[in-house]
């Protein structure tokens, strides 16, 4: 029986946090947010050098032999740092390729696992992260299956002014393209790939929400008004306690959803739906509460809380709203 992190898992999180701390500080985030790029090669290479692309792959596939849970722990740190790049798309694509039986498609795996080939999700929406930099797009095949589309001919990309400045989207249209089949309609992997993405989005939301809570608590300890650190006032103290009460118990929901996916439990899909729905609600509430807790400084561009708020907007809408996933979870529960 084990339902908390091992020291190795804590070490993975520390490594990702440390790496992003070095290459993705607030200055870089500000510069990226005001720039035109939809991808940052330095932070991407730093993450991929840690083996993030292949973390959840079996060792036989050149991966680390860990699981979706460990990938979720990485995405949590990516969310906390508001790091750029299609990290979730990359990990999900690697998992899909590792389970794919088509040898021609599988040939794409080494490039994705190493991070040399950048893969992004183009599911259920034509607004796609890092579309101008990705070489592969994971999409539905129009018949209920999944496929990978290569960047290039037939892929039209239109730049847009993206709300989420740390993971800018572009508008993508697919014409006559080079496609690699992954899973045909009816293959259980179609849902498993989607479930993995939902769990990782929930993990990113968890990391972002925790970061916003931490920032708010730190600020409340140092900011003084009426001659006191404002965190001494019960009104704010209770708001901060409620932020923590929203975020900390939800951590175990993410762990369970990832564990259920790894272990192939019967309720894995339902757990993924609940994790996505619940954590995106938590993220929305927490980013709003964090800005309120900070007061004026939180409303400025300079302070940067808005980047996490903007990520929460993307996470919430990505692959279906909380209400849609609650409806799915209810169906899956058999109510």
């Amino acid at each position: 029986m084990r339902f908390h992190l091992t020291s190795e898992q804590v070490a993975i999180q520390d490594a990702v946090k440390g790496t992003l701390g070095e290459c993705w500080g607030m200055e870089r985030l500000h510069a990226f947010a005001d720039g035109e790029a939809d991808f940052d090669a330095d932070s991407w290479q730093a993450l991929m050098a840690l083996g993030v692309g292949g973390l959840a792959l079996p060792e036989a596939e050149g991966g680390a032999g860990w699981g979706l849970l460990d990938a979720a722990l990485v995405c949590e740190m990516v969310g906390a740092a508001a790091a750029p790049g299609p990290v979730i798309g990359q990990i999900v694509t690697a998992l899909a390729l590792a389970a794919c039986t088509n040898p021609n498609t599988r040939a794409l795996l080494p490039g994705v696992a190493s991070g040399e080939t950048v893969a992004t999700l183009a599911l259920d929406s034509n607004l796609v992260q890092s579309a101008r930099s990705a070489q592969l797009f994971l999409t539905d095949d129009g018949a209920g299956g999944l496929q990978l589309i290569e960047a290039g001919d037939g892929v039209e990309i239109e730049a847009v002014s993206a709300t989420d400045r740390s993971r800018p989207v572009s508008r993508v249209a697919f014409g006559t393209v080079t496609a690699h089949p992954l899973f045909a309609a009816g293959d259980p992997m179609v849902q498993r790939v989607r479930d993995a993405a939902l769990v990782l989005i929930a993990a990113d939301a968890l990391g972002g929400a925790q970061h916003c809570t931490d920032l708010s608590v730190d600020y409340a300890k140092t900011r003084e008004q009426f001659g006191q650190p404002i965190g001494r006032f019960q009104g704010l103290k209770h708001q901060l306690a409620h932020m923590a009460l929203d975020v900390e118990p939800a951590r175990a929901l993410v762990w369970y959803a990832a564990y259920a996916w790894d272990a192939g439990l019967d309720d894995a899909s339902r757990a993924a739906a609940q994790a996505k729905a619940h954590l995106c609600e938590v993220y929305t509430r927490t980013t709003r509460a964090a800005i309120a807790a900070h007061g004026g400084i939180g409303y400025t561009w300079e302070y940067g809380l808005n980047y996490w708020f903007r990520r929460s907007v993307l996470n919430r809408a990505w692959l279906g709203s909380p209400a849609q996933h609650r409806a799915r979870a209810a169906e899956l529960a058999g109510w």
Binding site: F3, K221, R232, K237, H238, L240, A241, A244, R251, A252
Partner: protein, 402 residues
């Protein structure tokens, strides 16, 4: 992550199952016969090392090394067989651990065995009409008798569970009125069956006013031997902080909430509302929090088994439970609609109440409010999370608290 308990635990499970198959066969026994059978069964459970594991053999326990996984397997198997486990209540949960840690030999000999065998039932004497969240302000006073052998107690205690049944009370009394408030309190045990003690049930907002509800107690020169004082005179506040967490972590600690949620889904079906998208959405939202609570209880259990510190999550479980209870109450109220305009048969009393309709949810709708108050009010929980969990500076009014 791995939610299985491991091979050693499964081997132990077979052993517990064999014990239960051989020893728990109550058959058609009823009344006094059943009571005797249960008492004998509990003794066998102690002999086998399954019950009262934290209590030394000298006082009627089975004195087992701490093992939360074994304790969990025992709970699961006894539950499955519907076999009686340890007695609950304040005596077993609070008096006995406190005496084991802080009691004198005489106190242990006098009280522990009779408490775990159910002969002594303990009421808690902490809250007073003027001392709720500010517990250390208790004013019920105790003074030494002229010959120095007895404490003479005067004052009032309130919100004592099981008060009508209680034979004894563990209480906080002020013995040093001049000392700072935390340092003038003594922890005292008292026999409740004496002329100086009057008890009265409190009628609650639910209408509940029976033998099993909360009581208030009035002390008018009630007496306790000085040897029934636990710990040093004036150190009672610190004695009351004694909390033994021996095998306290339980993976099923969230099962009650999960069962209540399932009943809420059943209620939605019964009321013909389960296909209403608004109802489904609210149920889904509540379930997200119910599952977070459930898996967090797994996390706490896992940390306890490994001896790791779970961090602030352990400070949040009570408030989380309370808040989810409120959400369920609000949805239940909408679901029962006009059915809530009449009270169910036997409302406000315990025991058999006859067939009850959807309006039985009135108990939960009102009872959930009790959770905001009992065992540390919600605003106190928020302070604890903020100050101990997040490290925020202490409230100035409470900065003398310990």
């Amino acid at each position: 992550m791995d939610l299985s308990y491991g091979a050693a635990a499964e081997e132990f499970r077979s052993e517990v199952r064999a014990f239960l198959a051989a020893q728990w066969q109550p058959g058609e026994r009823r009344g006094g016969e059943l009571k005797d059978y249960v008492r004998d069964f509990r003794r066998k459970g102690v002999e086998a090392g399954y019950l009262y594991r934290a209590i030394p053999r000298a006082y009627g326990g089975s004195e087992q090394p701490v093992d939360v996984i074994k304790a969990q397997v025992i709970r699961e198997e006894f539950g499955r067989a519907r076999a009686p486990m340890e007695l609950g209540g304040n005596g077993v949960n609070m008096t006995v651990p406190t005496l084991l840690e802080r009691g004198t030999q005489e106190q242990k000999d006098l009280f522990i065995r009779k408490t775990i065998e159910g002969e002594y039932i303990w009421g808690q004497g902490y809250s007073e009409p003027g001392s709720g969240s500010d517990l250390a302000s208790v004013r019920t006073k105790a003074e030494l008798s002229a010959d120095g052998t007895k404490w003479i107690v005067n004052g009032q205690k309130i919100w004592t569970s099981q008060g009508m049944q209680s034979t004894h009370m563990f209480m906080l009394v002020r013995t040093e009125p001049e000392a700072p408030k935390h340092d003038g309190i003594t922890y005292l045990l008292l026999d409740l069956n004496q002329p100086g003690v009057t008890r009265r049930p409190i009628r609650q907002m639910t209408g509940e006013e029976g033998d099993h509800t909360f009581c208030e107690f009035f002390f008018d020169n009630a007496e306790a031997p000085v040897s029934w004082q636990v710990g040093e005179r004036g150190q009672g506040w610190y004695v009351s902080r004694t909390t033994l967490k021996h095998e306290r972590a339980s993976i099923g600690s969230a099962d009650g909430l999960g069962n209540q949620f399932r009943k809420l889904v059943e209620l939605a079906k019964e009321m013909g509302r389960i296909d209403d998208p608004l109802v489904r959405d609210r149920l889904g939202e509540i379930e997200g929090r119910v599952l977070s609570h459930r898996y967090s209880s797994f996390r706490l259990f896992s940390c306890a088994a490994a001896g790791d510190d779970p961090g602030p999550i352990q400070l949040m479980m009570k408030l989380l439970l309370t808040e989810i209870g409120h959400d369920m109450a609000l949805l239940a109220q909408d679901l029962i609609g006009e059915q809530g305009l009449t009270e169910p048969a036997g409302a406000g009393a315990r025991g058999y109440r006859g067939p009850r309709g959807p309006n039985k949810w009135l108990d939960q709708i009102m009872g959930s409010l009790g959770n905001s108050i009992a065992g540390g009010a919600s605003n106190i929980q928020r302070n604890i999370i903020g100050e101990r969990g997040l490290g925020l500076p202490r409230d100035l009014a409470m900065s003398g608290e310990k």
